[in-house]
Symmetry: C2
Subunit: 347 residues, 2 copies
């Protein structure tokens, strides 16, 4: 059972958890940005393993470097790894722990909004491989996740926006009210105090879904809303060596999939305009061109969520709060949706 | 639940399983030795992925090459991987499946005695890393395991002996009768028909233990008998680029740990002589030298079964059929045991 702790007293919470888990040794994993946070939390004389920041480093080579430090520093099966960072660190660190000596325990300390709302909770771990996102990994829940807003004030605006896109997704799949509360929040000029209760409500939406369906055989697929198209945007940007923040890709993926929902299930078109306005205000991204459609569709085909070759799976929506998992769309419909998406953004 | 099928009608059994599992696509994994067997079983038009044979290739590079073929050949989460081979293929293939897109289903077809009795059953998967055996991996049971003796007749004698060492281990931890029946069997001139009932009894010993304790928190540790010292022998041989068969290392590891059991728990010394005689007859290995002790003990210290740094864990025995898990021995006792082990072998 994954323990979820909301607190700004992070050091105290961590010391309590380590006391309970009673590991034979503690290791910290941080990236070049979060290393100071890890050092500030290291009341255990633990080794701090540093990896380079950035999703482009969430790969097999970085993973192997973490395994190597664990191996050569005497980590045992009873050691504990504390991942301090955003989604890149908790995804990679979670899989490093899940696969080292066939699995050691780990704790995630989420330092970004995106990490808190998305990656740190729910047990999806992994690294990118070739051009595919999270192609290699495991379902491995952290023993505990600590979520605090104290590290968010130093985040770049785009990190906050990135996390907010995942919050919007949770709103869209859980209830119209939650979704509308989020639309009313001004993420372009965020009040972190006001964000905290929204965040706690939001993470609990995810936690509840993951509890019911940990291995994504049913309702958990709703969490993939926005991610089939979103991953394609993200992968294309990565291939072109102009990476974009995950949450920006998801925000745009949400709009594409809301358009698909409109075309296939009659999702209300007024909502498309509301979300398009938000994207224009806070999620500026390089425009999609007609010449990108083939590459985007090919990337969607490779999405690990597809259940058979050649079919592209989506989570769609009847209306806010009413997701439809295991939906599919054919290529022509996806092209039509990309056209409408571009019109909505005035591209 | 792992399905365990004993049959010589392997193709028929496999077709039945594939029918039940109804995968979106089938892939075979084989090494250069077992590729013809995989081809003979491939009634599915499946891609056969070939990796180089030998434990020295059970590494991250080979693993990544398997992931790459799966990725670029359109494997999805609903694909099935059929691993055809000995322990190297089922360990590596099992982890490849367990980690590809966070886990796809897999079947093991054991083609060696060692694989049948040890690696194919029980869900321990993984690859070697740096100089450490199975340092990276997962607990991931196959959806089904097919065990047949039909492929054993073409095995080199040392493969059969290697598997027999694991059978002897199962005898030692399960019952004095089973152990004695095995000692009475002539593995140096093996009758495969007579081996079959012994094998089925033996695999079921392991299956039963794994069922009770899949993640090795208690009684499953008994299966590690012989493996703390055995892995050290095996790793040392690998470091020196003169690899020895896993089962030979285990056979010698069993004797070292029986000696430790004698020193620490009064395990009967007559059994030491019986097993030493078997080792001299069928498990010839390069003699251990005094100068090797430090390296062997250092390797034992790195064993992933150790629960904390600096302590070396063993499974020991009060007598045949009565294992004692979570035992430890200090360095002096291990040195004394190595001395006695060498005397028993006339080194």
């Amino acid at each position: 059972m994954q323990k979820l702790i909301f607190t700004n007293e992070v050091g105290q919470a961590l010391a309590g958890l380590v006391g309970e888990l009673n590991p034979a040794g503690v290791f910290f994993l941080a990236d070049s940005n979060t290393r100071p946070i890890a050092e500030s939390l290291n009341a255990f004389g633990a080794k701090v393993i540093e990896i380079p920041a950035g999703d482009e480093n969430k790969n097999l080579q970085t993973l192997a470097s973490v395994w190597e430090v664990l191996s050569t520093s005497g980590a045992t099966r009873r050691s504990l790894l504390v991942n301090v960072g955003g989604g890149m660190v908790t995804d990679l660190g979670g899989f490093a722990a899940a696969s080292f000596k066939r699995g050691i325990r780990f704790i995630n300390v989420a330092t970004t909004l995106l990490g808190a709302v998305d990656a740190a909770v729910g047990g999806k771990t992994g690294v990118n491989f070739l051009h595919f996102k999270n192609e290699i990994g495991a379902f491995a829940p952290a023993d505990a996740v600590i979520i605090s807003t104290r590290y968010f004030s130093t985040l770049p605006a785009e990190e906050l926006r990135s996390g907010f896109a995942e919050m919007l997704k949770h709103g869209l799949i859980s209830s119209g009210e939650t979704y509308r509360r989020l639309l009313a929040f001004d993420i372009a000029d965020a009040d972190l105090e006001a964000l905290l209760p929204l965040l706690e409500e939001n993470v609990k939406v995810k936690e509840h879904i993951v509890e019911i369906d940990p291995r994504e055989q049913g309702i958990r697929k709703a969490l993939n809303l926005g991610h089939t198209a979103g991953h394609a945007f993200e992968s294309l940007a990565m291939e072109r060596r102009r990476p974009i923040p995950h949450g920006f890709a998801v925000a745009h993926g949400l709009l594409v999939e809301m358009v698909l929902s409109n075309l296939l299930l009659g999702f209300p078109s007024a909502e498309l305009h509301a979300v398009a306005a938000l994207l224009r205000e806070a999620y500026a991204m390089e425009p999609v061109r007609c010449g990108d459609y083939d590459a985007l569709i090919e990337l969607m085909r490779h999405d690990k969520k597809n259940s058979s070759r050649g079919v592209i799976n989506f989570t769609l929506l009847n209306r806010p709060g009413d997701p439809v998992i295991d939906s599919t769309a054919d290529e022509d419909t996806i092209r039509a949706a990309l056209d409408i998406y571009r019109e909505l953004l005035g591209q």
